[in-house]
Each structure stands twice: as C-alpha cells, then as structure tokens.
C-alpha cells in the first residue's frame, strides 16, 4: 500500500488512520495476511515500534488479529469492516459539510451540490 507520513503529527495516529483506511477499502482483503511489522515499517519509512503500536490498536478495534501460526491477518468479520468503512466515510462527509459551510453554503445547497456532483459522475 501507499503511505504518506508527515512529521508534524504523531506518526502513530497517521499509521492508524492509513491502516484503517486500507482495511476498510479492501487494499488488504478480509482474511489476508499482513506483512510483518518490520516490513510494514520499512515500507512506510517509520520506526518499527511505532508501527507495532498502530497495529496493536487496530487489533484492539477488531480489524486485524494475531494468529499464532499465520501471523497477523485482516479480520474476516465483514460487519466490522463495513462499520469501519462507514465511520471513515462519515468522517469525510462531515469534513465536506464543514468546508461547504465555511464557504458560505447552507446545508440544502451543500446536499444539492453533492447530488449534482454524483449525477455528473
């Protein structure tokens, strides 16, 4: 997967966000085995301990699990993945709404604009 890590925010949070998005969007498929911690850290160009911490949090959220034999895999719980996808999409929707409001659109205009953009494809 593609990583984009900036240095002015805690790296742990950015890893968590990007891993969550990767699982929610299917970059890592349900049940797929993840690369090892160090390999993931090398790909992202970050510290292995920081990557470990992000993966542990992802596990606490039920999106990945550690299996003694298979290493770390993405959950095959479709509901958990769908819930994560919805939560992320909702966050983007709220960001859009906030930007539209900041530009002076009222909420009806914001909704109409989104509908129009969808229609245009």
């Amino acid at each position: 997967m593609e990583w984009s890590i900036r240095a002015d925010r805690p790296v742990y949070l950015q890893l968590l966000e990007q891993l969550e998005a990767a699982v929610a969007s299917g970059v890592y498929a349900p049940g797929e085995r993840l690369p090892g911690v160090r390999e993931l850290a090398a790909q992202a160009g970050v510290n292995p301990n920081t990557m470990q911490r992000a993966l542990a949090e992802l596990e606490a959220r039920g999106l990945v699990r550690t299996q003694r034999t298979a290493g770390r895999t993405v959950t095959d719980d479709a509901q958990a993945i769908a819930a994560a996808r919805r939560a992320l999409a909702e966050r983007h929707a709220r960001d859009y709404l906030a930007s539209a409001r900041a530009l002076g659109l009222d909420d009806n205009e914001a909704a109409a604009l989104l509908a129009a953009v969808i229609q245009e494809g």
């Binding site: 240095a7 925010r9 510290n47």
Partner: protein, 232 residues
C-alpha cells in the same frame, strides 16, 4: 538500565571542552537520534561509545561494562568518514569484515550492496562519496551486533536514495539491538526514531521520545530542532 549509558561524561580535547556532564541512556529495541549542529559533540559521543576515545571524566557503559574488547564485539560502528582501504574492491571489503567480525553475515551484505546498486568488483577509490558511504553502511548493518552506532549515515547520499537507505536500516538491524544515529539532517530521519537527544555545545538540551515531542509541541522534531537551535 539503558544498554548504552552516558554517566556524567566530560571530554576535553586539550583545554577545549567537547562534552560537559552528559548524562543520557539509549534503550535496547529502540532507535535513538543524536541530533545537534556541527561541532556540538555528536561524533565525540559515538567515538566514546565505540571505545575510540576515553572520557576525561565520568563513564560510558555498554551493557554495564566500560568500552573495551568485549563491548567492541557487540558494537557495529559506522564512522563519519569512509575508512575502507581505497584500493579494495567492494567484495574485498566484504571478505575483510567476514574475517574481522564473528557476527558478520556476508550473504546479507552482498544482497544489500546489490540492492543498492553497488558493484562487487568496483574499487572504493573509483566510487562516488555517496556510493562509498552506502558500501560502508551495508557492511555495518550486516553485523548481528547488539549496539549500532551510525555517525551521519546519510551525509553524502542524495535525497532520492535516503528513504531507501532508511528502509534498509529498518529491515537490517538485529531485533532488540540498540541503534544510535547521529545526524543534522533531521527531516529525513525523524520518522524512524523512537527517541531523540539534542546535543547543544556539548550538553544535553532535550531528551525525549519523538512521538511525545510531536504530541506535546504540535511540531515535527525537525521544527523543534530549528526552534531550539535558532536562539544560538
């Protein structure tokens, strides 16, 4: 206790102080950045840990022991300048390290050199500075050491290759090893650091975890560094 411990260390060169009362520790399984401007004392600290210099006062401990033949076996030191014989080929350097260090993995070194585009038959003298540094880094990182001391590992390497070198370091080091990287090019390195120690005029100015600094100050380590050293 830290694997590498500086305990009230002072070092004079003649009557010029290089380090004054430095106390700090580097932990196993973590990567520590030793950060400071040129001449702040970073290289002196690494040389003390490598056993190449003796402190004027205070002590340096590696796994509880003073630097000596026993700790040197556990320590992989990358000097800030290229120290390989100029008439050597890259392959001769691999053979030298294999002879010299029991923990050296020659196959790993050959593979790393290949992946960084260094020809085994190339002579050190005919390499660019960046390629010489890459060669020396590959050799150092191919040791199964407990303590890695890397003095400016990215100094002569072009920015495009830096990320690749950093991932090579991450993939390469022994699990539970203590890694110390000195640099003044902080922006490129900070994402791989657990802990940072800022050295200012031979004293410790800041010692903290990189994430804690970002959380509490809302800035990159590079940004904080510029702030700390701007008022000089």
């Amino acid at each position: 206790m830290s694997f590498l411990q500086f305990d009230n260390v002072t070092k004079y060169y003649g009557n010029r102080p290089a380090l004054q009362n430095v106390t700090c520790g580097m932990e196993p399984g973590r990567i520590t950045g030793l950060l400071g401007p040129n001449g702040s004392g970073k290289t002196t600290m690494l040389k003390l840990a490598a056993g190449l210099l003796q402190p004027t006062a205070g002590r340096v401990l590696i796994g509880g022991a003073a630097p000596g033949p026993e700790t040197k076996k556990l320590t992989a030191y990358l000097p800030d300048r290229v120290s390989l014989p100029r008439n050597f080929r890259a392959s001769d350097a691999v053979a030298l390290f294999a002879d010299f260090y029991a923990d050296f993995d020659a196959a790993k070194a050959v593979e790393m050199l290949r992946s960084l585009g260094v020809e085994a038959s190339q002579r050190i003298a005919s390499m660019s500075k960046g390629t010489q540094e890459k060669t020396q880094l590959c050799l150092t990182m191919s040791r199964g050491a407990k303590l890695f001391l890397l003095d400016e590992p990215l100094g002569g390497v072009d920015p495009a290759t830096r990320d690749y070198i950093l991932s090579t370091i991450i993939r390469g080091y022994t699990e539970d090893a203590t890694l110390v990287i000195s640099t003044h090019i902080i922006g490129d390195v900070e994402r791989i650091l657990d802990d940072v120690v800022f050295i200012q005029n031979g004293t410790v100015a800041v010692a903290d975890s990189a994430e804690h600094l970002r959380e509490t100050r809302g800035k990159s380590v590079d940004g904080i560094f510029r702030e700390v050293f701007a008022c000089l």
